[in-house]
Subunit: 387 residues, 4 copies
């Protein structure tokens, strides 16, 4: 069996199908998509890729299947889905997924057509693996799909540990060996065995701390907003969205530099906009919180107008209300599987902390920050907060 | 400058006074007192000592002083206090401290008389360090004392990271470099600088997770209760409490084996009592929760009576109501120092989680577990819960 | 002072000049040049960049300067040189440096003109730093230059530890804190203080093990040879070498795909040539070992001719004879600075081991491996060895 | 299956026999024997025990057996032997083994009688494990015995990694996952599979660097010599050697303090003798290098006589000539199993380095160092070297 050295899980041993899938363009492309996209502008060590993450998810899926006693054909499909779960990502991963969804209606976990038309299709067929079944597992369907995409999935377990390892931040540390070992099925639902309320909580806490210090860091959000806007303009300039979606990071960087040069250069050399406004949930009117994509764009135009700047110089970034998938994970307490939010006193506190950490941002080139701040208050009724 | 290799902080560089203090019997004795006493019966790798912890606290104190810009005489006293802060511990550290307090009225952070009569006194004098001032710092007195003993002290920062490293548990991980770097004084109180609510929360979360998985593990509590009872009998058998307090772990193990042979042997070879009762806070009558030492002993005799066993075969272990020192740590928010419990939505959830994790235990030799469980229900009205 | 989190050294604190230099395009470009270029085709976790490495070298330089007691202007220039030492690298770092040297006569540590004409020039001037002096330090000139580029330089210390961390290989581990702490000057030469023969040896051993398992891995060498050849063709196709040198990894990948599509695709998707020949030093005629670039190309044409394949399908890869810079590092033994090769019994063994590990390779597309192997024996008298 | 958290290998899963063996007094006693005895006087973090090491050896043995495809009864015996391989150690492990061998003729790997008469005997019988077969495996007998005790045994792999982890030294790092995975049997000999000369060398290098910086550190050697002499006097004072052998560290510390108070106190509080003489192999006459135990004692008396000090104040410490077990490990090269010393150019260099690192020591209380140095030159013709 082929073994690959990984800096998180040490050796990862591949089954024959995985070894062949690894050599497909669809998977090799993931070498060129960074796991944390713009986060590495804050944490320089975080340049790891979705390729190594996919290997890690494959590894944890194998361990979970062993622990659950699942073998044979079913296990082979789950392992393939684990390895392929990210092939639907566009360049810069999550940072472009809303762009792609807006233009194609497709989420990154819709990999069916990708598996059907890439070289991965032949490899799957050769190993008697059904692409539709693999695609359904990637979407999290069925009992086994929960292992790949769900509240207790191995995707989450790998990225928390891996992102912590590569950023150098001490917060993503979870006991993944224990989590994997304590998984059980109860009436078709994946649950953690008795005695693991704390193990489940640690997953939540890791997520919450990583959100606050890594995933939602304002510098990464600013760069992400710039990237999203630049991508929109790139597509508007005539790049086909199908082509866009199949790009890797290097393709996008070069394409932006050529077709959206101002933003392209700023992203490449980390010459970022600054925060004109950075407002808490309580300081933002409800209708602003609810703004959709078109609403954000309209607001940008209005703010630019009032501020007397080009409307490319205003970025309005209103994140969705905080969600908390992990709160729905299930753990057995006194013999009964319960949702973690019912079993743990911590969940409501974490929810509140996440709401407290929510921020709306308005970004502008450094020289226009003051006008944009003032205009935002005039247009949206949101006051600038000294960042 | 002398440098010592440490598995947590790499090299620790000692100032001349620290280098000399290190060679005193008072500090060398800490080589023979394990940091986590009975915890290593659960986590075999956790046999680290208060000696290496003291070096770690010294190291973090030095870094904090540098960051705060405190130098000269004041800094030298703080560093000495950091190195000496644990010399007052009896054998097995926290596990015997209530025994010692009951018999002497002295807490382990009362090191004044120790510093006065040991070889450390000469070293302090030689380096122009005032033993009384050092002792006051160990008690946490004054502005600088907060660095050694307080809600944001370097003691806590070292032990969380060190205990995690040695147990192998991934939960004690805090960003101690950041914590130390962000300390400030505000009106004489030690606070964390603006932008560190999450840093402060991480300290709390680390503590809560370590409590649940390490410090309050039931096996460690059972062994601790056995050790405490054995120590009481040792003192009752005629060992002077002053002598007892100055023992190190090896002295106590040998003394117990000779003078309290039954429990001594059980502790040495990890042949522990089992849980007859393990009850949550809501299932324990308030007057039982309030039992003091004498009350616990009386309850043991009553239970033994009803169960028809020797009263040495019943251990009643009622921990105090959960406290949460770290909740009072201060962090600057929008320019104003606030108590963390006011600035963070997480604290109340953590408090609730700690209450939920509170357990009263009644322990007995395996062969008497059933009788003791029944008798406990009859005597105290507390039902056994299947552990 | 600005502090950046690093996964190897934890927080790296920047002086004001470094903080400003970091924002220049010259340094930001290093975010897009991977430290280990083609090595990550073997070790997927190794996608770290020259940007984070430059920060690490800056950090170790600061520590070394502190330990040596060097301050002020001299220290500021060394720190700037440490941060800038890699700005002269072309895309894919070492893998393209011979191409660039052939076409420009310039080595990657010639950064003088780069510092003169980029935005870094203004920053240096603003902070009263002399670009020529910085450039001389990068070339390793003068007493202080040895810290930046020499047998005991901090560049080496950082990359060994960092490359080990990111590959996951346990071999690059050196005691960099001790190395930095034990540096001294003796008659203008940087040496390790008395008692450090073993510390110096460990640097050698780390290098030797990393060479064998990481830096000289055959898969990385094959990809490197493909990349070098593709770069030659790219330049031949009309790309100006100055433009080429200033490219980053993403630029090169895209340019190759467009202008050298066959090799470009293979490199991007790791569809690599295979070893037709893999021969030890003793099995290769001396005149073949001595082949220069033109000689290698001629040999490729001859082999292709005999094998009946396109001459693009043959890559001859003859590395230089092994060298061993670290053997010349100096360490004080019984009061006298000695070259490590005179003080350590290990060096000759390591030299021999390096000669034993030397391999000449001839690579070809998988389907032509047999013909190319046979033709290589006919043309160069080198027998294929089953890899 | 019972799982135990380990700071080196994460979770260690125990088979039913191992879980029961773990609870025996014979194995629990190992909790009280430190792995590195006097080394922790140099590296304070190194207070790990033979208990956790035994678990680690058990774990690696399980992995090796899996990799070799060995199952059933044979595997169960190997796993039991791995767990029990150190039960024959006396207090302070290797530091007292020559004392015990001199008085009993028994080496620490002679565990047959221990397994026969302790509570482990019943557990072995209950699980259908043959104590004689287990004892033979511990002695390294038979094909499978090589896994437990031999040049490529899992004991070595665990202790190198574990000792590095706990000391904090970066040198013991080996790729144990790869080593275990690449083990094969060839004609009944354990060998490393093709392509692992470097893997085998790394084991050697790790050992050599750990020897130099950890295992043979002069402070540890001085304390070890004091401990050995104190143990001799303890036995001379009437302690039965059988009783002595069954002591754990704490028993010995207390016994020494009572019966050999002067040395006992010095060992407990690290108040150590100093080096009067520290001489290289080339500076020591051959007949002195060959001194046996009686010869060393006679030399001490003569030196004390000449120096005019009590003969307890002189410790002569002549280590055996360096050996290099790992050099005999076998690795497959071009299809043929070879001894590493024949396959690797490094071995002779390492041998030479080990000879160069050999030191004879003569130790004395600080106040007598000068007289003892002079007397040693007069009596043995060995010159003091400034340490």
């Amino acid at each position: 069996m082929k073994a690959i050295k990984d800096s998180v899980h040490d050796y990862i041993t591949l089954d024959p199908a995985a070894a062949d899938l690894l050599d497909t363009d669809a998977v090799q492309r993931l070498r060129h998509i960074k796991q944390l996209s713009t986060v590495r502008l804050v944490y320089p060590s975080a340049s790891h890729t979705r390729f190594e993450h996919s290997l890690g998810v494959y590894h944890l899926a194998s361990r979970a299947l062993d622990s659950l006693g699942i073998e044979g054909d079913r296990a082979r499909h789950v392992r393939a889905a684990a390895l392929l779960h990210d092939v639907g990502h566009g360049p810069y991963g999550h940072q472009t997924e809303t762009v792609i969804e807006r233009h194609t209606g497709q989420h990154h976990d819709e990999v069916g057509d990708l598996l059907g038309r890439t070289d991965a299709a032949d490899v799957l067929e050769f190993h008697d693996l059904d692409p539709d079944r693999v695609a359904a597992l990637v979407r999290g369907e069925g009992e086994l799909g929960q292992l790949v995409s769900g509240e207790l999935d191995v995707d989450r377990m790998d990225y928390l540990v891996r992102d912590a390892h590569h950023t150098g931040v001490p917060y993503g540390t979870i006991d993944h060996e224990r989590l994997v070992r304590e998984l059980r099925y109860s009436d078709g639902r994946l649950v953690l065995e008795e005695g693991n309320v704390r193990t489940a909580e640690s997953l939540l806490l890791a997520r919450a701390l990583m959100d606050a210090t890594v995933y939602r860091h304002h510098v990464s959000r600013i760069a992400g907003a710039m990237l999203e806007r630049a991508s929109e303009r790139l597509i508007a300039s005539g790049i086909d969205v199908g082509t866009f979606r199949r790009m890797a990071d290097h393709d996008l960087l070069v394409a932006l530099r050529e077709d959206v040069p101002e933003l392209g250069r700023r992203i490449e050399y980390r010459d970022l906009y600054k925060r004109a406004v950075w407002a808490e949930l309580g300081d933002v009117p409800a209708d602003v919180v609810e703004l959709d994509h078109a609403g954000e764009r309209a607001a940008e135009r209005d703010i630019a107008d009032v501020a007397g700047v080009d409307d490319r110089d205003v970025l309005v970034d209103v994140p969705g209300r905080p969600t908390f998938t992990e709160a729905a994970s299930r753990v057995v307490v006194n013999g009964v599987p319960q949702r973690l939010e019912d079993a743990s006193e911590l969940v409501s506190g974490l929810r509140a902390a996440q709401r407290a950490g929510w921020r709306m941002g308005v970004y502008a080139p450094e020289e226009h920050v003051d006008e944009v701040a003032a205009a935002t208050e005039a247009v949206l009724g949101v006051r600038a907060v000294a960042p």
